[in-house]
């Protein structure tokens, strides 16, 4: 672009070679300053938000995790904030309720993420295969739960898990099967089901959009090579939408690690869910029920570190897994 703008004014520039470059340079400098000013104006509101609702809170959480309010004597006298080093971290990491919360979320991720990614991808591949009737309607139906807020999805399923209200439990009862969806072994799969129901259609649409962008020649070429529809789907299409798969996996992971809304609602009806069921519930409980800010902050930082480490790990792992394939081509 700079080449074309410089090439045009060569003819008039030769006439007054001595004066133009200086003024042109000044004009260019002024334009550049104008651009930077505009850039700053456009970015300022967002970065003001970034600082106030992101950087300062993250900093505060880290700060709080190293300090504690100490009440001298029997709670009389002025409250002092003292440096306690890693004491809060030690308290969090040796607290069995926090560790069991971490284990719960780890198990939840292990069940939920593969089910979600494989399920959504499979549905997208089926819809992309061209044999599904009423494809647009099927997509709309699958997408519908995305428009249902998380708390309401949890409410609907809570009622569907509640004996006496639920037609599902009635159906099972008619087949002489008694099932307790909120029992000790079923409560986690029940939560996975709610999350799956809410997000399956949305991720399916993401994959479907990516599949639509796969060049048709590539697929035709594989058909000419004699690959059946299943092989085409798994060995040609799936590798081509890899970036979407990684993105969906990471977003699903980040979202899953924050597990809060569903267990919080189910805890109203199930004794199997205590107030520290997941790390996020632990943070809420520590901060707003027990008013132990340094403990809550330390737990927050641990959760944050886990999230960043895991997302980074997924990115690195997938990019490493891809490189040999890339170089082989």
């Amino acid at each position: 672009m700079t080449a074309t703008t410089q090439a045009q004014p060569t003819a008039p520039a030769t006439a007054s070679r001595a004066t133009v470059p200086a003024s042109a340079q000044r004009a260019r400098k002024r334009a550049r300053r104008g651009q930077l000013a505009a850039c700053a104006v456009l970015m300022a509101p967002f970065f003001a938000l970034l600082v106030t609702v992101f950087l300062i809170p993250v900093g505060t959480a880290i700060y709080l995790s190293f300090f504690s309010d100490d009440q001298p004597g029997l709670g009389f006298g002025p409250e002092r904030t003292i440096f306690v080093g890693l004491r809060s971290y030690a308290a969090v990491l040796t607290d069995p309720t926090f560790l069991s919360g971490l284990a719960t979320v780890a198990l939840y991720c292990l069940i939920y993420i593969p089910l979600m990614v494989i399920g959504a991808l499979a549905l997208a591949l089926l819809l992309d295969s061209g044999v599904v009737r009423l494809r647009a309607w099927a997509q709309l139906g699958l997408f519908l739960p995305h428009a249902v807020p998380g708390i309401i999805a949890a409410l609907i399923w809570l009622y569907l898990y509640t004996p006496g209200i639920s037609p599902v439990i009635d159906l099972f009862a008619k087949a002489d099967i008694t099932i307790d969806f909120l029992g000790i072994h079923t409560v986690l799969p029940s939560i996975v089901n709610i999350a799956l129901w809410s997000n399956l259609g949305y991720n399916m649409v993401v994959f479907y959009a990516a599949l639509q962008a796969v060049p048709r020649e590539v697929i035709e070429a594989s058909v000419v090579d004699g690959a059946g529809p299943v092989r085409t789907a798994l060995q040609v299409k799936t590798p081509l939408v890899r970036t979407s798969i990684v993105m969906v996996a990471i977003f699903t992971l980040i979202w899953a690690l924050q597990l809060f809304t569903e267990p919080m609602l189910l805890s109203q009806s199930s004794p199997m869910i205590n107030s520290r069921f997941s790390p996020s519930m632990y943070i809420y409980d520590a901060a707003f029920t027990r008013n132990n800010y340094s403990l809550a902050a330390a737990a927050s930082v641990v959760l944050l570190v886990c999230t960043i480490a895991l997302s980074y790990g997924v990115t690195r792992w997938t990019s490493r897994a891809n490189t040999p394939e890339e170089t082989a081509r």
């Binding site: 505009a38 509101p45 609702v53 009737r133 399923w157 809570l158 993401v206 962008a213 690690l257 996020s280």
Partner: protein
């Protein structure tokens, strides 16, 4: 076609049927709970517990709506209004802010730009529950706890919107257009407002819709920040009513009807703005 066609026909037909059956079952899985909500919303309390969903004998849809809006002096209307205010205004302002920033990231160059963009992407990763306590403490310092602003300001922040804004700006606003505007002597900001913003329209709608959904779904932040019921959004209000329902079952039909009505705005938004968000999803995923 070829002679092998008739022998190939059977497995292919079978495959076709299987594929359609799998998709049909998945659609039933996603639709039936919503259908249950619609049917259950028309039941009075006794019918709800008799689980006889399809009997139309004790149909009390209108009565339930009336009960819902009368419950606790019409609190539900307030919650609904609050949710609309948080979500529509928040998503509108938030989308403008994020898209402007994304556009600036795309069109202007400066030192350490990519590092700064990396910071924006890192912000996408941070769980909301991590920020809740410090935000609460900051809000209480500023005297904003239990006010509209305590919920409204944090929800404006949408780093993923900046990412989308940058991609949309690359795709929809050619650099030549900006060059032409500069040659014409138009100011940078004027160009953005008059020319670029119009081209970014579909992207803006996509970011708006994503953020609208996120804010309408928001539950954790209001729960932390608000204690005054009059400021609750629908999500938190229904949560509270549901917790009362185990003690006083007259809340059950009201919670179900309230849930049904709370789903309507997002479905409307998605249906009306369909062609925008579909293109937005492609931009977000293919990149």
């Amino acid at each position: 076609m070829s002679t092998g066609d008739s022998t190939l026909m059977r497995p292919r037909l079978l495959g076709r049927a299987t594929v359609n059956a799998v998709v049909a079952i998945s659609v039933l899985y996603t639709l039936l709970p919503v259908l249950w909500l619609v049917l259950a919303a028309g039941k009075n309390r006794d019918a709800l517990f008799s689980s006889n969903l399809l009997s139309l004998g004790d149909f009390s849809f209108v009565q339930n709506v009336r009960d819902l809006f009368a419950m606790d002096d019409g609190l539900y209307t307030r919650w609904y209004g609050n949710s609309l205010l948080y979500a529509v205004l928040g998503a509108g302002v938030g989308a403008l802010v994020s898209v402007a920033c994304g556009y600036a990231f795309d069109k202007y160059g400066f030192r350490h730009k990519e590092k700064l963009f990396g910071l924006v992407l890192a912000a996408v990763m941070v769980p909301q529950t991590v920020l809740a306590l410090p935000l609460y403490l900051m809000a209480s310092e500023a005297g904003l706890v239990n006010t509209f602003w305590a919920v409204f300001i944090p929800v404006l922040f949408n780093p993923f919107g900046v990412y989308l804004g940058r991609i949309f700006s690359q795709g929809y606003v050619p650099d030549e257009v900006l060059e032409a505007a500069r040659v014409d002597g138009a100011g940078e900001l004027t160009t953005y407002v008059r020319v670029a913003l119009r081209m970014l329209g579909p992207g803006l709608v996509t970011v708006f819709l994503f953020q609208l959904t996120a804010i309408w779904n928001n539950f954790f932040l209001p729960m932390v920040m608000l204690s005054d019921q009059d400021l609750y959004p629908v999500s938190l209000g229904l949560y509270q009513w549901n917790s009362s329902a185990s003690v006083s079952p007259e809340y059950y039909p009201v919670v179900i009807m309230g849930s049904l009505l709370a789903v309507v705005p997002l479905i409307l938004a998605f249906a009306l703005l369909q062609r925008f968000w579909r293109s937005g999803l492609t931009a977000g995923s293919v990149k």
